[in-house]
Amino acid sequence: MKTQLPLLLAIVGIVLSDVPLKDAHAADQLTGDVSSRLIAITSNYTGAELILFGSRIGEGDVVAVVRGPTQSDVVRRKTRFAGIWVNTEALIFDEVPGFYAVAASRPLPEIAKQALWSQLQIGAEYLKLDPREDVTDVKVYPYREALINNKEKGGLYLRQVGKINFIGNTLFRTSVELPAYAPVGGYFVMFYLIEGGEVVETRNTFFFINKTGLERAVFDFAINEPAAYGLLAVAIAVFAGWLAGVMFRRA
């Protein structure tokens, strides 16, 4: 897996340029970080809990957004054809985040108006997911919902906004559940300090989920050296079969 740092930096640039800052000089009221920079997938990996934490000065609310690496997904729709259910229509969605979660110190409607959430793409319903094809919103809607529902079922998208808790006046923390099937790659975390319905300050950080050990070796090998992997798969099978045959005869 190559690092996705350039991509992450690009996202940071896009997100930052979109943020309407109330007061550009009011810096350093907000800090934030994650408990682990690298989450390693090993053979007994069943997901991980990541702690997001930080501090803020003043009375503003804190909202945190975690986005996983993007990919293109195809959403197919089955219709009945000659008695059986067949995939007949499909829409391709590009740049679909592989993971998406939001946490906030108060319910979102109490913190700011809908327009802000929509602009910042905070909340699964405001996530920018546009199909590659140019089709009407009415047609896109069920596909988009199916995509989000599918990700939600796998624990990859959290429609429920998580709770950011304050410890004393300035320190805050929240935890994010990363499911076992969270995609491998670079994750981007954005903290927003919001006061009076407007963004006062933002902080961003990132972490990686990577396969390590045997899983990593096998995964990398299969993707990067498909021919060698194929030959090795055959060789292993032939050897294992021979071994089994020999053991069988003895028994």
């Binding site: 089955k78 995939n87 090795l232 089994a244």
Partner: protein
């Protein structure tokens, strides 16, 4: 992990008991437990390759492998598996691979299971009556007179190379698309269409299945990256243990009753897949990664 070992053991038990490869049961089972069909097929091809190696050793020792026949079939099989893998990739691109895998299984499981059940029920009935007719020792089939005739000494045949090549081709495509060795189709075809002796047909089909499933595994790894070696090995580990037990239990039971049982089981798996195709799905939408050229 334990589920997979258990499934390997269960199918291995059946394959030991009935003397079949078990790929045609394992792939649908993997799909039932939620393994993506593309991965199930490619990894199962890998496992069948391993299982056939261990099977062919015993047959080789007994001289049951007709290498010349196997080689002719292998030529067809290689071409077939290449065609199958390319077809598989194309079907993945257009999002129809699950459908084609399901339909192929419904057709094959129903036909093969049905024939097995009917044949074994007849045998059970026949055994209750005294033997009336004897089979002829040597038959001539329609395809024997085609051109490109070759002498297959081990099988005691002098027939055209085209039918074995064609059989290999079909089985190659099956191996690539369904993740099966195809023994359940190949062995009856070799016996009834080519007229090969049963023992030689079993040994030779195992021999050629090793190569066809190996080629399929390799090509799937190359073009689809859907071979999961760890999955295949886990299944194999379970299957080896299961097959040992299965062979012992199988030796205690009557052949026709075994075949009737297996036939019924095969029909049930096929019916389950068929029902899934027809019943209105809970979720008409499915999501998959985009595959581009």
């Amino acid at each position: 992990m334990f589920l997979l070992l258990g499934m390997g053991a269960g199918v291995g038990f059946l394959s030991g008991m009935f003397g079949v490869g078990g790929g045609f049961l394992m792939t649908p089972l993997l799909i039932f437990i939620g393994v993506p069909p593309a991965v199930a097929v490619a990894s199962e091809a890998n496992q069948v390759a391993a299982a056939s190696v261990s099977g062919v050793i015993a047959h080789w020792r007994r001289g049951n492998v007709d290498f010349k026949m196997g080689f002719v079939m292998l030529l067809g099989g290689s071409a077939g598996s290449a065609i199958g893998v390319l077809l598989f990739r194309y079907l993945r691109e257009i999002g129809q691979v699950e459908l084609v895998i399901s339909i192929s299984y419904v057709i094959f499981l129903t036909v093969v299971g049905g024939l097995m059940t009917i044949e074994s029920v007849r045998a059970i009935i026949r055994n209750r009556r005294p033997l009336t007719a004897r089979r002829r020792l040597h038959r001539h089939y329609w395809a024997h007179g085609w051109p490109l005739r070759l002498r297959f000494q081990k099988s005691k045949l002098y027939i055209s190379a085209i039918p074995p090549f064609g059989l290999g081709l079909i089985v190659g495509i099956l191996a690539a698309i369904m993740g099966v060795g195809g023994g359940f189709f190949l062995i009856p075809a070799m016996i009834y269409l080519l007229g090969m002796p049963t023992a030689i047909a079993v040994g030779t089909s195992l021999f050629q299945i090793i190569f066809v499933t190996s080629i399929s595994t390799f090509l799937h790894a190359m073009t689809n990256q859907t071979v999961d070696v760890l999955l295949a090995l886990t299944l194999l580990a379970g299957a080896v243990i299961g097959a040992q037990l299965g062979t012992r239990v199988g030796a205690e039971l009557r052949g026709e009753q075994l075949r009737a049982l297996l036939g019924a089981l095969v029909v049930v798996v096929g019916a389950k897949l068929g029902v899934d195709l027809v019943v209105t799905p809970d979720e008409p939408f499915s999501i998959g990664p985009l595959i581009e050229h």
